[in-house]
Amino acid sequence: MGMRNFIDKIKPTFSKGGKLSFLHSTFEGFETFLYVPNTVTKKGAHIRDCNDIKRVMIMVVLALVPALLFGMWNVGYFAGRVGFDAFWFGFLEVLPMIIVSYGVGLSIEFAFAQKRGHEINEGFLVTGLLIPMIMPVGVPLWIVGLSTAFAVIIGKEVFGGTGMNVFNPALLARAFAFFAYTPQMSGEKVWYAVDGMTGATALDYMSQPGATMEGFSVCDAFLGTIPGCVGETSTLAILLGAALLLFTGVASWRIMLSVFVGGLAFGYLFDITGWTEYPAYYHLLVGGFAFGAVFMATDPVTSAQTNTGKWIYGFMIGALAVSVRVLNPAYPEGMMLAILFMNALAPLIDYFVVDRSIARRKKLIKNVK
């Protein structure tokens, strides 16, 4: 195999003692990207699986593709184009955002890994794609870059890199952009790539008290032909991605389901108390709710780890997201805040689940004796 041989030949240069050994992390990163590493554990009993983190991440990226492609077409559609023209227009608008996100994020990650002598971790593969998908298309590129830098440095590297972060880095980027540059991130100009076109998103309508779904049909919302952030409009495309993630066992069905249940429950509550005028399931179709439920809440690093914990975690995300949307006039998008908040509480939830399980088992032993 040509590539394998080539890599083996140049490997010594990058290993200890070789001329380019300080670039070992970079080399290692590329090598393991192309081939599953064949280092094996020497102690203990472990299952050998070809499905390592890199493969898992690639699966998530694949699951994101339907939403991404649709989002690109949607951008073009709202700029007045149709068909393939629309897609191509959107593609050209979104591609720079993706390039900036990956470029900035990966450079920072590489730099930190080199300095610390760690291996490159592939966590950013997914984050880098998520960041542009949860931003509105009209946001300036320098904001995308700055937010990515903030998310990677303060959100990930400070805590120790991939797998150590408390908060979902993509959401941190979005939160940073939202709070730091609110006028550039919301309002009415930012959802369209073409100057001169403005309009509110469905979320903006819904956040007025007593609102109904003006101007957008349920079908539109489900398919995704409504204005919004690049990846989050099409519930259909997101569900396709969800199906892939569930089939391959990469994401937790418990979390996805409980987020939806939580959102529906509270949406229903607000509907019957007259706080809102639209049925609960609208919440699932609009804004970042579905996207967050499938791709952000299920992030294995930042979510709850225990099964019971996952139910609680997911339910509270759904409930919080809907509550923030309805009750707080200043934040029409509640999903981002709900997930970040529950990220912080996830370890606590796990702690109590484990604690109660231990207490229960202690009691059982006592009874047996």
Binding site: T182, P183, S186, G187, E188, T198, P329, A330
Partner: protein, 244 residues
Amino acid sequence: MAINKNSNLYTIVYTVVMVVIVGTLLAVISTSLKDLQDANVLNEQKVSIMKAAGNENGDFDTMVAMGYVDAADNTFYAIDTNDTVSVDAVFKLLSDRKALAATEAELPIFIYNDKAETTYIIPLVGKGLWGDIWGYAALQTVDGEIVVKGIVMDHAGETPGLGAEIATDGVQNRFVGKLVYAGSEFALRMQKGGAKDEKYQVDAITGGTKTCDGVNDMLRNSIDKYKEFLENPIIVEPQKVKEE
């Protein structure tokens, strides 16, 4: 004789002495500085009023007449500026925002006369997103229409960079030259998404919608009280002081 520092007597005496010393010290400082402090507050109010009228560095005492509009007969009764009791009462009312919002019968007002144009400065009070908002609106009558000459606003706790921008010159200057009433309807407002009718509307603050809604309510509630007076100002000669 060694004093037992931990005895009850010693502790009590110590406490009493300490309290007396501290109390006296603070009382002395407070009373000696009080006049300066009150003057500062008063000065700030006067500067705000002058700023709204467009002449921030002007001398309030010589240029502005102050008094009440009696809502019953829409007449302005001036207060003699030498009558310190009444003058203090007006400024005290301005500081007490709750009372100010509740006044219906006797409305405080300031009149600024400069080069034969008369500017009426009325106090504004309302609620923003997180707390009180207040200010002064300087209005003139031009060709039968009530026009904004200037406005000054302040807030207790609006979001920095967003709602808090109402306290900046940039936002306040937007109001200059706007008409207040379209016919008999109150039309002056901050419009979300950009002013649609430039005669009566100014751009709202992006990201500060709720604060701007509060401003709109504040403008309408405060200015409406003076509407009838402004349309037909009856001014009693300044020398006459309203009889209590």
